[in-house]
């Protein structure tokens, strides 16, 4: 165990020095520790294989790491800092102490969960006790995956013990874990409202400056929320906005003045960027719906729902094909609401999409985030629909607000994703006889994968409808450039 401590210290020093010059020093330092880490993991794996219990999943997770994996992990770690540009600020990593973050230039990068040491540190700091899942898929090891169902009662019981956490933020975190809120707009709005409540109840402690202390508090809230459920990219935009408004507060403001200014800023953000933006998008998109159209939609996007309902209110004659998929069946809620308003709908699952696509004239999809190269990150299955539509020459319209645009570039669905509950894939609700996968965790050569997001390339997208108008996917960096300075970054 002395061996372990030595490498840990070395890692500490590596981490403290390297973030200043990530691309230069890290390759050299990483190479020296890689061999040691590999040897360490071999030793641990042998030890764990010998004393392998069935329940201790945290141990099993580290034991399963193979030498090939460590190479990939270190290369991923190397790629980590240069890839995430200095502009993006993600408050996902709870491992770096917050004071250190502010001293160093590169912002904390997304936490790569395949690096054991970071995971250990994060767990020590974390407020939410999560047990890692077993049987994880290899290429998604850099994403967090926890066993579902454990955290909720655990957290609820600690409600009154966590006095560092504001109750509104705690409530939002609980709702995230429970899965009550889904959809980027709802999550973002709820989180901003919780931050607003936290700001209203905030009072500067003596000897501290409001700006710095409030920023630190917001960071801790955000890291709590991201532990409950990983942040989506557009939520990152919203948080950046809040922090930039805090940073721009004049120092002469008193507490109450600053708090009212911040609350009105957050109100303005929610109003302008989400509520009014939705109305503008609906206005633009309705011009693309003609009488006799057959519109296809997938998943539950609130903007697309608004578009369909207002087009119906305007008296246009069209019918809707609602496509759904396991395990969440999110579109059923949309279907119920559309039918209640009197639209004629057809409901089908995603495996039939190439069968009905020939009669479809337009495809309307929502987005979780849009990247600079025009790729769209949204609920899993969207890329499939867009691809089939492209083959059948059906125009695909993505409807999303401008605050979801980001200057990052994504080339595949692997780097940035979220893993859901694998048990949801293993069981079919209502069918007790399909129980072949009941003991899947015990089978070593079986891994279940439940991805939440996927990435649609820009070639499959015809137009992105935003509150700035209808733009081709190639013009996303233009919008980020022109409007980014005013609203997101300073």
């Amino acid at each position: 165990m002395k061996f372990w401590r030595r490498t840990e210290k070395k890692h500490e020093t590596v981490k403290e020095v390297s973030p200043d010059t990530p691309s230069v020093s890290q390759p050299l330092k990483a190479k020296t520790t890689k061999a040691e880490r590999r040897a360490l993991q071999e030793a641990q794996r042998a030890a764990k294989a010998a004393s392998k219990a069935n329940g201790n999943s945290a141990v099993a997770e580290s034991g399963k790491a193979s030498p090939a994996k460590s190479k990939k992990q270190s290369s991923q770690k190397k790629d980590g800092p240069p890839v995430t540009s200095s502009v993006t600020i993600y408050k996902k990593s709870g491992n770096h102490p917050l004071e250190k973050e502010r001293k160093k230039d590169p912002p904390p990068q997304r936490m790569q969960f395949d690096d054991q040491n970071r995971v250990e540190k994060a767990k020590r700091r974390a407020l939410v006790n999560q047990t890692e899942a077993r049987n994880r898929v290899e290429i998604f090891r850099h994403l967090p995956q926890y066993e579902h169902g454990n955290q909720l009662p655990n957290l609820e019981s600690r409600l009154f013990q966590l006095d560092s956490m504001h109750p509104a933020v705690f409530k939002v975190g609980l709702r995230y874990i429970a899965g009550d809120i889904s959809g980027v707009n709802a999550r973002c709005t709820e989180m901003l409202r919780a931050l607003q409540d936290a700001i209203i109840d905030y009072s500067t402690p003596p000897e501290k400056v409001l700006i710095r202390d409030l920023t630190a508090k917001i960071n801790s809230y955000v890291s709590f929320i991201s532990e409950c459920r990983p942040l989506s990219i557009s939520m990152g935009n919203a948080i950046r906005f809040v922090k930039s408004r805090i940073a721009k507060l004049p120092l002469s403001y008193t507490d109450t003045e600053a708090k009212t200014a911040l609350c009105s800023d957050i109100d303005r953000f929610i109003n302008e960027k989400i509520i009014i933006a939705d109305k503008v998008i609906v206005g633009h998109a309705i011009t693309k719906i003609r009488d006799g159209d057959v519109l296809l939609t997938y998943g539950l996007s609130c903007v697309v729902e608004m578009i369909l309902l207002s087009a119906h209110d305007l008296g246009k004659k069209f019918r809707v094909v609602v496509v759904d998929s396991r395990p969440k069946f999110e579109s059923q809620a949309l279907l119920a609401r559309l039918i209640a308003k009197g639209l004629s709908c057809m409901y089908t699952h995603i495996n039939a999409v190439s069968y009905i696509m020939h009669e479809v004239t337009r495809v309307f999809l929502g987005a979780s985030a849009v990247m600079s190269n025009g790729t769209v990150l949204s609920k899993i299955g969207t890329a499939c629909i867009a691809m089939v539509a492209h083959e059948f020459r059906v125009p695909v319209l993505i409807c999303c607000e401008a605050f979801k645009f980001h200057e990052r570039v994504l080339l595949d669905s692997i780097c940035c994703n979220e893993l859901g509950d694998p048990d949801a894939v293993a069981t079919v609700p209502g069918r007790m006889d399909i129980n072949y996968l009941d003991n899947w965790t015990n089978k070593e050569n079986l891994q279940l994968l439940n991805l939440m997001y996927d990435v649609t390339p820009s070639d499959y997208i015809s137009v992105i409808v935003t509150d700035h108008g209808m733009i081709p996917p190639t013009s996303v960096p233009v919008i980020v450039r022109e409007y980014g300075q005013e609203h997101y970054i300073t």
Binding site: R362, P395, S462, V463, M470, I471, P472, T474, S475, E482
Partner: protein, 357 residues
């Protein structure tokens, strides 16, 4: 005009834009000439309220027609010059009044022919360009007005000279011994070829007939005058001759926000054939043709009707496709030659966003 009005109603509504093009460049027949004549009379104005509005209404259209009678002048430039004249002859005393007058004049011009994309685009761009001058509110009215007139004139000059700039920029793309395929009679493309011939480049041109106006015949006539070897091909022979062609150059009636173009019927076909045979398609278009429409497919276009003459009487039961133009999506276009430079189709949206910021 009353005797001709019933004949106009019997025929399907003819796009005035294409009538005038016909009048200028097509193979002229007396019937079309008469219809073109009647098209130049102002439509009965139905949207005016007061007398002063009526005056400006008529003067805008009159001014527009005066400019438009030059066969060399693009319609959009005529519109811009007419709108500039509105500013200088306006009797308004405040900035808001002037802007309202301008808006009314621009709406009247657009209503004159709702199907013309370049007219709409040019009017909109003119309005944005002119009213974008900063600190207009703080200046004294007369100096602000003179500044507006200055900008309007400058915009008119730029648009007028656009063709020369485009011709200069596209010279690099025409190399010695190349074969160019052109479609229809576009004055911009003609300018390009004229300049190339003037620079003693050796190239030959395949000219499509351009049914039903047969504008290609006129173009081949003009090119023959410049001693450029021309070969006329019928529209259906484009794929047959595409092997020998090095590049396709077309003009545009309008450039839409997706980067695609709206042009004479047949352009989409030619672009498809060129793409499948890996030949570049270049579009020569002035920047005032950038319009804020976003087209998803052919049916999104407002159809411009143009009667087709088959030479023999067609029974009434047979339907005829009389649309005059089609939409070419941006993936089939290689480059756009504009007065802003040589651009890729995705830059159109960039330019429009910057202008409408």
């Amino acid at each position: 005009m009353e005797s001709e009005a019933p004949t106009m109603e019997n025929n399907p509504k003819i796009s005035a834009y294409y009538q005038t093009r016909l009048a200028h460049f097509g193979v002229v027949s007396t019937e079309w000439l008469a219809q073109a004549q009647s098209a130049t009379n102002p439509l009965p104005s139905s949207s005016t309220d007061s007398d002063t509005d009526k005056d400006t209404n008529f003067s805008v259209i009159d001014e527009f027609n005066r400019w438009r009678s030059h066969p060399d002048l693009a319609e959009a430039v005529a519109a811009i010059r007419a709108l500039a004249a509105v500013i200088s002859s306006s009797k308004a005393s405040t900035m808001m009044q002037l802007e309202i007058e301008l808006k009314n004049a621009s709406d009247t011009l657009k209503a004159w022919d709702t199907t013309s994309i370049s007219l709409t685009a040019a009017s909109d761009l003119f309005m944005r360009y002119v009213t974008r001058t900063s600190a207009l509110e703080f200046e004294e009215f007369n100096s602000a007005k003179s500044r507006l007139i200055e900008r309007a004139d400058k915009f008119g000059e730029i648009s007028y000279k656009a063709r020369k700039i485009i011709a200069m920029l596209s010279q690099d793309f025409i190399f010695d011994g190349c074969t160019i395929l052109v479609h229809g009679f576009s004055r911009v493309v003609f300018e390009v070829l004229k300049l190339a011939a003037h620079n003693k480049k050796r190239f030959r041109v395949f000219c499509t007939e351009g049914r039903p106006d047969r504008t290609g015949l006129r173009l081949s006539h003009e090119l023959a005058k410049l001693d450029v070897p021309v070969k006329l091909v019928i529209d259906s022979a484009v794929a047959y001759t595409m092997d020998e062609v090095d590049m396709v150059i077309v003009g545009a009636d309008g450039v839409v926000e997706s980067g695609g173009i709206i042009n004479m019927m047949g352009t989409y076909q030619i672009a498809l054939v060129a793409k499948s045979m890996n030949k570049p398609v270049y579009v020569a278009a002035e920047s005032y043709k950038f319009a804020r429409h976003y087209l998803l497919d052919q049916k999104d276009l407002v159809p411009a009707i143009r009667p087709v003459d088959f030479g023999v009487p067609i029974p009434l039961k047979v339907d005829v496709e009389c649309s005059a133009r089609d939409y070419t999506p941006p993936q089939y276009l290689t480059l756009l030659f504009t007065d802003l430079g040589v651009l890729t189709p995705s830059v159109v949206s960039d330019e429009l966003i910057q202008l409408y910021l």
